[in-house]
Each structure stands twice: as structure tokens, then as C-alpha cells.
């Protein structure tokens, strides 16, 4: 039997969503629903022409903190399989940054668990984005809307 791929990966290399979905369905049978999200580097920023985005991270903490989020999703919903990939390093407009895929028996759990993982990842996982443009470098600010999105999952 082939070695199971890890549920959570932090890497510089790009990923292929169809490969990830195949892994997801291979890991756990009985799935009736797969919900996924892919985050990309937006092509243009309203205030500056961004030529690159650098993703910094805290290497010892990232996979662990995402795994905790995944574990919480498994406790809250009937989740069969989860795959999360988050890239780090230097990315360009249009590049894929992050993938979250969830397989469940039913679509309600799949949609909710996928959104939950993304909302928590955006507020808890130790990554920081820096935009590089002709005018210089600029650290992306955290958004109130992300904090609010994470807040709505609290009991």
C-alpha cells in the first residue's frame, strides 16, 4: 500500500489541486462530499503594483498550529479526510498560496469544516506576508474582517 501523504504540508513548491483531491479521496472512503478552497496571490493591489509577495513563517510552529486547527475541525464536524498545503517563500501575482480540502459524508459538514479551517488558519497560523513593489516593501496588515470571521465559530 502506498505511504499516506501528510494531512498538513508547508512548502515552497506549488501544488496540484487535482492530486490533492485524489489523495483526499484515497485516504478515506465513504465520502459523499468534497469541499475545497484555493487561495491565490491577487493580481493587482489597489494602491501599488505588487511584483512579488514573500511569505515568511515560523518553521517549527506552522505545521503544528495548522494540525491543531484540523484536529478541532474533526472534533466539531464529521470529517473523513483533510488536506492542507500552505506555501512559503517568494510568490508572484496569480500563484497559488494555500489549499484546504475536506471530505465528508455530507456537504454541510464539508463546507463548514473547510471554511472553519481557512478562517482559523488566517488568524492563528504563523505566516506573514510582505508585498514587494517598485515603491518598496510593505508588510500586509491583518484584517478585522478575518478576526471577525474567526470569531463567529466560537461557541
Amino acid at each position: 500500500m502506498a505511504q499516506r501523504c501528510p494531512d498538513v504540508r508547508v512548502q515552497e513548491q506549488d501544488f496540484d489541486v487535482s492530486d490533492l483531491q485524489r489523495e483526499l479521496l484515497g485516504d478515506a472512503g465513504r465520502a459523499g462530499a468534497v469541499a475545497s478552497f484555493t487561495g491565490l496571490v491577487r493580481v493587482s493591489n489597489e494602491q501599488r503594483e505588487v511584483s512579488a509577495m514573500v511569505l515568511e513563517h515560523y518553521p517549527a510552529m506552522t505545521e503544528r498550529s495548522i494540525q491543531k486547527i484540523v484536529d478541532e475541525a474533526r472534533q466539531r464536524w464529521q470529517v473523513l479526510g483533510v488536506k492542507v498545503v500552505h506555501r512559503v517563500g517568494s510568490l508572484h501575482p496569480g500563484d497559488q498560496i494555500v489549499y484546504v480540502g475536506v471530505s465528508c459524508r455530507h456537504r454541510g459538514d464539508a463546507f463548514q469544516a473547510c471554511e472553519f479551517i481557512m478562517d482559523y488558519l488566517k488568524t492563528r497560523a504563523p505566516f506573514w506576508k510582505k508585498e514587494i513593489s517598485a515603491g518598496g516593501e510593505h508588510w500586509v496588515e491583518s484584517r478585522d474582517s478575518d478576526a471577525l470571521a474567526a470569531q463567529r465559530w466560537k461557541d
Binding site: Y58, L121, K122, A125, F127, W128, K130, W139, E141, S142
Partner: protein
């Protein structure tokens, strides 16, 4: 020895990515360690580390200022995260 790491904008503000502090009984908590860094670093370090939105971790887990420290721990200071 306690290893202290700084990330992202905080690292740039302080000009330091990491430093080691000799562990002693006076570094009993994260608050005490932060105060030691402020005492050594001066006003710039105080402004950076005492800012309202600074996040902290001990041994790669989010931690509050009252977190107890032990010799060999790894401490990190960083701004609000912006991944995803």
C-alpha cells in the same frame, strides 16, 4: 539558555532575528523575560514588545504573559499573522 525569536515586522523593528538569554530564576515568566529584554534594549524595544497587538509563543504554542518558563524553552514574539 532560552532562545528568543522575532519575526516579520517586529524583527525588522528590532534589527534582531534571534538571541539567547541565560536562564535564571528571575526569568520565571514570559512577562519577566519581556521586561528583561526591555531593560536591556531600551525605549525602542519597549515600544515594539509592549505594543498592543504583539503575539507571543513558548515552545511553538501561543502563550500569555503569565506563562511559566523553564531552561531550554524557545520564546517567540511576532505581529498579528497574515497567512492563508
Amino acid at each position: 539558555m532560552i532562545k528568543v525569536l522575532f519575526f516579520a515586522r517586529l524583527r525588522e523593528q528590532l534589527g534582531v532575528a534571534s538571541l539567547d538569554l541565560e536562564y535564571s530564576a528571575s526569568l520565571a515568566t514570559l512577562a519577566a523575560l519581556q521586561q528583561e529584554l526591555v531593560t536591556q534594549g531600551g525605549a525602542d524595544w519597549q515600544a515594539a514588545l509592549e505594543a498592543e497587538n504583539v503575539l507571543r509563543a513558548v515552545n511553538q504554542e501561543e502563550a500569555a504573559l503569565d506563562q511559566v518558563l523553564a531552561d531550554g524553552d524557545e520564546v517567540a514574539f511576532f505581529p498579528p499573522v497574515t497567512g492563508g
